[in-house]
């Protein structure tokens, strides 16, 4: 702990492998971000720049310092990609390259990591070596959509760099109006809550949609995120068009001795205040001093399992719920994903194929019915959930809504 405390002070020395400190121009504003205990990206950049003396790094630091002074950004987009692909490189040209010629180009290559964001050091070192060879050496782990972002390369090095990465098993990520890179939680890789193999599902799905990911030509983007359980550690419901959330159908599994042990350790007040009272549907009650779960009322929120991980676990009949339409703020305001398939098995390869078929059907419907730059959630809001269900052939289920409509404004079929 001593050492840890020490590291917490302002004196943290980063960039110990760095150059002689003479390469970069002064960046007094940015230098302010070297202060304080949290690891500093500026220290990292400076270390890298001084060591490698890549002009692009000096140019980007200069332009960033200039942004900090003028409070404006100076990048503009463009179109760079690799042979046969239509996306995957985010192109950046400086709008003020006359001032900072070294910052003329600063493109980002989006790379799809392994599901669950797992690495071994060989993979990662290889990635670093290739990247240092062709690019700036700046890497973001990870972008919010889940990509490894290799930031800072010039157009004429992109293809070569890609070829080398591709040989090592890496492929570009999504951009534009197509399938996007996905994210999955660690799931069965460590977590006792995982209700399906979300890493495998992620891999299968994204391999299946590799075409529209590389050559985007839908209305707009489609993002997939895979969470092993309703804790939704990938923020799938909020941030993806298709959220694949592990769940179960039968009763929560209970280890009575572990319940007793928990109660003994934490006291009866804790059972009442932290478990019973926080169950959203009051599915848990105290009967003769014992905690009883009425599984008919459980909505699989995960809370009681989270509080008592040793005592409670998901049921045995496991699978996924599918939610659709999540996206953030732009235009219509935040739209969270809505439940459209309450339960689906996701164990065998056939289950996964069936799932892929469903997703294809959904995307086809959207591609036919959506407008330009309209996320699928927006399309559904515009045409109505009912039309979507009919279009895709999904069965209606009361779990799709929080309540039946409060207005009589529909044309009846009869």
């Amino acid at each position: 702990m001593e050492g840890a405390q020490k590291a917490a002070s302002d004196e943290v020395i980063q960039g110990k492998d760095g150059g002689n400190g003479k390469f970069l121009n002064p960046t007094p504003m940015l230098d302010e971000l070297e202060k304080g205990p949290w690891p500093s990206f500026i220290s990292g950049f400076k270390e890298l720049a001084e060591r490698t003396e890549k002009p692009m790094l000096r140019g980007v630091m200069d332009q960033l310092e200039y942004s900090y002074n003028t409070k404006m950004g100076y990048w503009k987009g463009g179109l760079v990609t690799v042979d046969g692909y239509g996306a995957g490189v985010i192109t950046r040209y400086s709008m003020i390259k006359d001032k900072f010629p070294e910052a003329t180009e600063f493109h980002t290559m989006r790379i799809q990591p392994a599901p669950g964001l797992h690495y071994n050091t060989e993979m990662l070192r290889g990635l670093c070596d290739t990247w240092e060879k062709y690019g700036s050496g700046i890497i973001t782990l990870h972008g919010q959509t889940g990509d490894i972002m290799l930031q800072g390369i010039e157009q004429d090095k992109v293809q070569e760099c890609f070829d080398e990465l591709n040989q090592a098993g890496w492929d570009l990520g999504g951009a534009g109006a197509g399938m996007r890179t996905a994210v999955s939680c660690i799931g069965p890789g460590r977590c006792e809550n995982a209700c399906y193999d979300d890493l495998k599902a992620h891999l299968k799905l994204l391999k299946h949609f590799v075409g529209p990911l590389h050559r985007p030509e839908w209305n707009y983007k489609i993002k997939l995120k895979f969470s092993g359980c309703p804790n939704d550690c990938t923020n799938a419901i909020m941030r993806s068009d298709l959220a694949v959330i592990g769940t179960w159908k039968d009763a929560i599994q209970i280890e009575p001795e572990e319940v007793t042990a928990w109660v003994e350790k934490n006291g009866i007040d804790a059972v009442v205040n932290q478990v019973i009272n926080l169950c959203p549907t009051k599915a848990i009650s105290l009967k003769d001093g014992e905690m009883v779960i009425d599984s008919r009322d459980c909505v699989r929120c995960m809370h009681c399992l989270n509080v008592m991980p040793k005592a409670l676990s998901p049921g045995n009949e496991r699978g996924i719920s599918l939610l659709m339409g999540g996206k953030n703020t732009l235009k219509v305001g935040v739209n969270m994903g809505s439940l459209i398939v309450p339960f689906m098995k996701m164990e065998s390869d056939e289950d996964m194929d069936e799932f892929i078929e469903l997703v294809e059907g959904i995307i086809d419907w959207w591609d036919d019915n959506g407008l330009d730059h309209e996320r699928i959630g927006e399309t559904i809001e515009r045409v109505g959930l009912k039309l979507f269900l009919e279009g895709v052939g999904l069965e209606v289920n009361i779990n799709m809504v929080t309540r039946p409509r409060d207005n009589p404004y529909f044309k009846a079929k009869y």
């Binding site: 020490k6 971000l33 949290w38 950004g73 990048w75 050091t121 700046i138 075409g211 991980p309």
Partner: protein
């Protein structure tokens, strides 16, 4: 490996495979975990049905990393976790080892290298953030700089577990909010309709696209100096910035008029309450590089009140729902104003359609 001269035929492989990246103990117990414990901040212990246990040590990173830094992390992994490491969805790095004895030395080494160990359980974890001036083409501020400034003040909270529940932060450099909904979020707020750069527009803008992008139909075609151009109905415009994404001549960003807003109560998990979107609680904060003190100040106020008043397992939004928004504003010292009343599409669903009143 093939030589650089040789033209490689692309393999459209999609995501990198993961099996080789899993620690052998993980591979063995894959999908057969029984429970977990959090022995101390930054450390997880997962026990499998087989009886095997795996320890995780988690540390914060700047996210905008470099090959130098990653190589150092690889060194740690080679030394303590058999060459395996992963990243969390919040940019923290994790080292998984079955060897409990490696945990403490690894912590010491990571902290000595400047990587704070923590981010587990009821703490403030790393910030989900975006690109900003470093790389994006539409930002009104920087992202990593704001985050660094915030996390410096929350360093202790990352390394402890003293909050009522997890606290997730996000920051975003434009109103699009790539950073996402969070317990507390810092997001740029456009405050003025876009100024149209007519010269620029003539050369680069797909006019109908920009017109179509506006959610409130505030953009109309017009003719300026004999050239087709656009105009904005400033009465209608809601300063969303969507047009700027479609056409860089719709200049929404401004060194002074681009401000910050602070949002609270976003929740992504389904635990207890359903996922919820966040609410605005402060705006008109200046875009003040390099350290944005006004922003970190507000974050501090909110976290102080939550830490003091939240009950175990209550997320920020759940805490507010219990004590009421009135008390939230009182206890944080922030001010509710009429701009915070929703005026968008579903505004009426946020009105207090009841006689329930708090005095």
């Amino acid at each position: 490996m093939s030589s650089p001269e040789k033209k490689w035929k692309t393999v459209e492989s999609g995501p990198h495979s993961y099996e080789e990246a899993l620690h052998p103990v993980v591979r063995k117990n894959y999908g057969k975990w029984k429970y977990h414990e959090i022995p101390k901040p930054g450390v997880l212990k997962h026990v499998a049905h087989s009886g095997d246990a795996i320890y995780t040590v988690r540390a914060g990173t700047p996210r905008q990393d470099t090959v130098d830094m990653l190589r150092r992390l690889c060194d740690v992994a080679d030394k303590y976790s058999d060459g395996y490491l992963r990243f969390t969805v919040r940019n923290n790095v994790e080292f998984l080892t079955p060897n409990e004895a490696n945990v403490e030395p690894m912590i010491l080494e990571l902290e000595a290298m400047g990587f704070p160990v923590g981010g587990t359980g009821m703490c403030v974890s790393s910030v989900s953030h975006t690109q900003g001036w470093l790389h994006c083409d539409i930002p009104a501020t920087d992202a990593s700089g704001v985050v660094k400034s915030m996390m410096d003040t929350l360093y202790h909270e990352f390394r402890g577990m003293e909050m009522p529940n997890k606290v997730r932060l996000s920051t975003s450099c434009c109103a699009i909010n790539c950073g996402g909904q969070a317990d507390i979020a810092v997001v740029v707020k456009h405050t003025r309709p876009p100024r149209i750069n007519h010269d620029h527009l003539a050369t680069i803008c797909e006019l109908p696209k920009a017109v179509a992008r506006c959610p409130v139909a505030a953009i109309r075609p017009t003719v300026i100096n004999g050239k087709k151009s656009l105009m904005v109905d400033e009465e209608k415009c809601i300063c969303c910035g969507a047009c700027f994404g479609a056409c860089p001549a719709m200049e929404i960003n401004h060194p002074e008029h681009s401000k910050f807003a602070i949002w609270v109560g976003g929740k992504n998990s389904n635990a207890r309450s359903k996922p919820s979107t966040m609410s605005i609680v402060a705006h008109n904060l200046p875009n003040n590089p390099p350290r944005w003190p006004e922003v970190t100040d507000v974050i501090g106020k909110i976290l102080t009140a939550y830490k003091e008043g939240g009950r175990p397992w209550e997320r920020v939004g759940e805490w507010i729902n219990r004590i009421g928004w009135k008390r939230f504003f009182e206890e944080t010292g922030l001010t509710f104003d009429d701009d915070m009343i929703d005026s968008y599409r579903h505004a009426r669903t946020t009105f207090n359609q009841s006689a329930h009143v708090r005095f």
